[in-house]
């Protein structure tokens, strides 16, 4: 009940005129960011972060999280109309969304996608509302060993649940950790891995890495396919929206299943991308119309969108309650919180009640605003995609450079951005996942501090990681998640020998 009144107070904060204004601006910016290739949730937020340093933290985080909602909505537009996923998590939406657009049912597909997004996001926010305070309260008892165990859980679930080659996930995580270690060591005060360079003394700012890895590299990947996009037309009128909504209750099972998958994948950082594929795969297996998937089945749009948004939203739960982001964008938002002097984690719920509940209330309102805005403005944003890419690409790259520069007023950072852009391009082509790298880069210092403090406390004995029930459970859970994927593969491989068809269905 205490939390409920806090939530109501939060709505009062979020409903003030200028915060609603920021929400609308954020959602619109987010949709632009989501529609344009080369700008996405993580680097859109990263570029705009420096501009919000002067703002009140609550308004700033409302603006930035609204950009996130907008980007989640925007990704669906390009997937359905142009068959180009604006974001990696909307790849699965193209499977059925684009065929629907080809059949002239673009408006239905878009309405379904946006509504599914909204339902997914809403289930994520509800989860945050009820579970985050409990998690935070629980986490107040955590010491360094427990925190390290939670970090371990995060990284292990990345490796275990990831869809990519596991060695590459590990390599990507390690690169993130090592980049985080460069520069001043916060415990001993020594310089590490700078090799005498003064520029490296500051270390690698993750915002620059994000802008390079997600922004510049995305542009390079996009231009590979030429510089012109061809898309389908779409106009959404109220009748289509209402008709599509009337048909939705039939798919309640799919929506529910995808929401649950999404929430799970978001909290354990499997991420929105994996969630959208899982949501799609499960819907395909369980749906009566499973055969029609890929040919323009509305359920094939609903399932991945619901899951992606549920995951994208739930990713904020561990960020708020534990200070551990569940996705790359959440990691960037976490960086913002640190800049504003807010230490995310259990204490946030005690010390900054207004901020936390204002943010949670803004999640409800921001998603509602997002749904309305995106339904009303689809033609405008579809038109954005028709601007020739030769105009858009240089502007995006200039904005990326400005974003990289403003973080610490250094031209060296623009070079770093460029280098990470090329690295990101090569990594993406070779299927190295980038989200683990960013996550490890953001969390690296804190994971290391927790690890070292835990070892200091125990005098160097690793026994501290199963000294009590709590930390032991976390470590066991981490190991379980780590081996979950490999075990699953093994079982699938063994079963695949007997029943080749089941292996195919599992794809």
């Amino acid at each position: 009940m205490d939390d409920f009144s806090a939530l109501l107070a939060g709505f009062q904060v979020a409903l003030s005129w200028h915060n609603v204004g920021f929400m609308a601006v954020g959602v619109i910016l987010g949709i632009i960011v989501g529609v344009l290739p080369g700008l996405g949730g993580p680097n859109g937020v990263a570029i705009l972060l420096p501009l919000t340093f002067g703002m009140d933290p609550t308004s700033a985080i409302i603006l930035l999280s609204s950009i996130y909602w907008g980007a989640l909505f925007g990704g669906a537009i390009t997937s359905i109309l142009f068959n180009i996923p604006g974001e990696a998590w909307s790849v699965a939406t193209t499977f059925d969304g684009y065929p629907m657009a080809v059949q002239g049912k673009a408006a239905e597909a878009l309405t379904a996608a946006f509504t599914a997004s909204f339902i997914g996001a809403l289930s994520g926010v509800v989860l945050i509302t009820f579970v985050a305070p409990l998690v935070a309260q629980f986490a107040l008892r955590f010491g360094p060993a427990e925190f390290f165990a939670v970090f371990l859980l995060t990284f292990c679930s990345f490796i275990g649940m990831g869809r990519e080659n596991r060695a590459k996930i590990i390599a990507s995580l390690c690169i993130g950790f090592l980049l985080a270690a460069v520069g001043l060591d916060s415990i001993s005060g020594d310089l590490r891995m700078t090799f005498g360079s003064t520029e490296l003394m500051r270390g690698f700012d993750f915002l620059i890495v994000v802008i390079g890895l997600f922004g510049v590299s995305e542009i390079l990947l996009t231009v590979e396919e030429g510089l012109v996009f061809k898309g389908k037309q779409a106009r959404i009128d109220l009748m289509v929206v209402l008709r599509t909504w009337a048909g939705l209750p039939r798919y309640w099972a799919t929506l529910l299943r995808s929401s649950i998958v999404g929430m799970w994948m978001g909290v354990t950082p499997g991420g929105a991308i994996a969630a959208s594929f899982m949501g799609y795969g499960l819907a395909k297996r369980f749906s009566k119309n499973g055969k029609n998937f890929g040919k323009g089945e509305i359920e094939g749009v609903l399932a991945p969108e619901t899951a992606a948004h549920a995951a994208g939203t739930s990713a904020l739960l561990p960020m708020l309650a534990l200070g551990i982001p569940g996705s790359a964008t959440a990691a960037v938002l976490l960086g913002g919180l640190l800049v504003w002097g807010l230490q995310p984690g259990p204490m946030l719920f005690v010390e900054q009640k207004d901020f936390v509940w204002g943010l949670i209330a803004s999640m409800y309102l921001g998603n509602l605003a997002g749904l309305v805005i995106v339904l009303a403005t689809v033609p405008v944003f579809a038109a954005v995609m028709r601007i020739p890419f030769s105009f858009v690409a240089p502007v995006i790259l200039i904005v990326c450079a400005i974003g990289a520069y403003t973080i610490s007023n250094s031209t060296f950072d623009i070079w770093l951005m460029l280098i990470f852009g090329v690295v990101g391009y090569v990594f993406k082509k070779l299927d190295y996942p980038l989200a683990p790298l960013v996550l490890a880069l953001v969390l690296g210092d804190r994971a290391e501090d927790a690890f070292r403090q835990a070892l200091l406390g125990s005098g160097g004995s690793l026994n501290v990681f199963w000294a009590n029930g709590l930390v032991g459970t976390l470590v066991v859970l981490a190991l379980l998640l780590l081996f979950w994927g490999p075990m699953g593969d093994l079982i699938a491989a063994l079963r695949g020998k007997n029943h080749p068809k089941t292996a195919e269905a599992a794809e």
């Binding site: 690169i175 415990i187 012109v228 200039i398 520069y405 070779l430 200091l456």
Partner: protein, 166 residues
């Protein structure tokens, strides 16, 4: 993932295996560098973990993963990493971008962006000259208005801005 344009003979391009191997070797070298640096500063126990302790352990895991990737790269079947046509497109973006970043320090960001837009759109060559010029003038001016005048975020400036009194 086949595009309609790829229905005839597979396009020629950079093959995947050398890139995969080169990347893995680079990562191995990076791992070696980390281990060298960490053990150089001490990665053991001196009344507590020394400051190379954690990076060194990550370094070993990293090295193992990279070696595994290298081994995998050698045994997996080869494919096309990037076709030469695609590589050409990428270079047409990367070249002007490199020029842009190099020019920011001497000329300031605004002038460099104008030149970047002219070169980029010229190289791509799908727009008329007046639309190129218009974009090249408008984008920096709008950026200046937003960042310098509205948000008061100073961006790198060069001789032109100095001559104009900023």
């Amino acid at each position: 993932m086949s595009l309609p344009s790829e229905n005839d003979a597979p396009e020629r391009g950079l093959s995947r295996r050398p890139v995969e191997i080169a990347t893995a070797l680079l990562l191995i070298a990076l791992g070696g560098l980390v281990l060298y640096d960490s053990y150089g500063r001490g990665a053991g126990w001196d009344g507590g973990p020394q400051n190379g302790f954690f990076p060194a352990r990550i370094g070993w895991i990293f090295l193992a993963a990279s070696l595994f990737i290298l081994w995998n790269a050698c045994r997996r079947e080869d494919g096309v990493f990037v076709t030469y046509a695609q590589l050409g497109q990428v270079v047409r973006v990367l070249g002007p971008l490199l020029l842009f970043v190099a020019l920011i320090a001497p000329l300031g960001l605004y002038v460099a962006s104008a030149l970047f837009i002219i070169v980029f759109m010229g190289v791509v060559g799908t727009s008329r000259w007046w639309s190129i010029l218009l974009t090249a003038v408008l984008v920096p001016v709008v950026c200046f208005w937003i960042f310098e005048l509205q948000f008061r975020v100073p961006l790198p400036k060069g001789p032109l801005e100095a001559a104009l009194g900023y």
